[in-house]
Amino acid sequence: MFKRNNYLALGAAVFVAVVLLSLPTSATSRLKLAFGSLFLPLFGLATATQQLPTDLAGSVLPRRELLRQIDNLRRENQQLKIQQSQSIAIARENDYLRSHFGWPQQTAWQLKLANVVLRDPANWWRTVQIDLGSRDGLRENLPVMTTDGLVGRVASVGLTRSQVILLGDRNCRVSARVENPGNDIGVLSAGGPLDNSLVELTYLASGANLKPGQNVVTSGQGGIFPKGIRIGQIVDAQPVEFGLYTEARVKLSANLGNLEQVWVVMNPQFP
């Protein structure tokens, strides 16, 4: 039953696994990039396949509908331009007041749009891969967001692709502030394995006055996420560890289950 070849095959598998697992992190990330490059030809195919329904829908859309959409976009564009000019005036005023009080100046975020190309095939991680890499100026720990709110942070960077750890993964902890009179600060940690729209906000003060619907934003502490990015809203809260601290559930603003495009903040600033 047990022949020499059987032992050799089993030994080879065990040897490769042990060698790979004992390699340092930098070496394994380089190996991952090398093996990941094998999938590059398939990325284009997948993108084209995903684009096909949109292209088909676009080709059969009536002209009247297209004109209506263009009209709506024009109107929205005009509104945004007015809001932008107002924001520029407010920013100038803010800069003036900051210089008056000797506070450090704030600069506008530089954002880069990225497409989500892959999701983690394992069910026990919450990560995605985006089509920007080191050649686009990405580096580790840059915040990633959508227009709805915070999504996560860049975990590892390849030449053309990067891995983003999403909120709710145990490796993506965020210092968050509840917008209530007490400005309570906690740590956003893991969510449940099934529902990726809910995450836990832990280590809140025991007397925190939390109510459902209160907004949760990044606190700016921790050195990764800049202050004031929207995260979500409080769903409920309860005291834990015999009332030592409070834990709350937060419904995320960004829809992590249906991410297609995300923004990477290239120049995060901290207070």
Binding site: N5, A9, L10, A13, F35, P121, N123, W124, W125, L194
Partner: protein, 176 residues
């Protein structure tokens, strides 16, 4: 052929939103492929599938590189050794083996991750994900067998069947 299918299967798992968007879990096709390889191919193929399938899966995942190799080999190797005693052509046997393999591989992978000090996202919801993965793997295994049978028929060499009719053995009937 098995390795190429494993490569495409891993990529498809990472790209396709279903069944994750519907059932909350992605089905892993590598255990089903491993059952096919263990029952129908050589030990070298089983080993290569465990090594390269595991590496490709870990490459697209946040898993440490190489962690999926041992669980795949743990499933494939015993099935290969006992394959003479398994009714491999029966769909029922394929479903049972597929379910067992698809349940065992993620459980062993998570166990290895926890042993290595990693922090995978597990909770009560993981039980549902585990059931979905086992059921998905059970359904996928006969499909994998069917796919490779079809490939064998379509692409494989078919031996020429000699007809029983031979000229030199023709019986001539004559009127006497």
């Amino acid at each position: 052929m098995v390795l190429a299918t494993a490569f495409l299967a891993v990529f498809a798992e990472a790209v396709l939103p279903v069944p994750r968007s519907l059932l909350g879990a992605q089905v892993d096709l590598l255990p089903a492929l491993m059952i096919y390889a263990a029952l129908n191919t050589s030990l070298a193929t089983v080993t290569l599938l465990a090594i390269f399938g595991g590496i490709w899966f870990d490459t697209l995942s946040a898993n440490p590189l190489g962690v999926s190799i041992l669980p795949l080999m743990t499933v494939g190797y015993p099935v290969f050794l006992q394959r003479e005693f398994i009714l491999r052509d029966l769909s029922f046997a394929q479903v049972i083996l597929g379910a067992a393999a698809s349940a065992l591989v993620p459980a062993l992978t998570v166990l290895l991750l926890l042993t290595g000090g990693k922090m995978p996202l597990i909770g009560w919801g993981s039980l549902w994900q585990w059931i979905v993965m086992a059921a998905g793997g059970a359904l996928a295994t006969p499909l994998v067998f069917g796919f490779f049978d079809w490939c064998d028929n379509a692409l494989g060499y078919k031996p020429r069947v000699e007809p029983s009719f031979r000229l030199d053995r023709e019986i001539r009937r004559k009127k006497k």
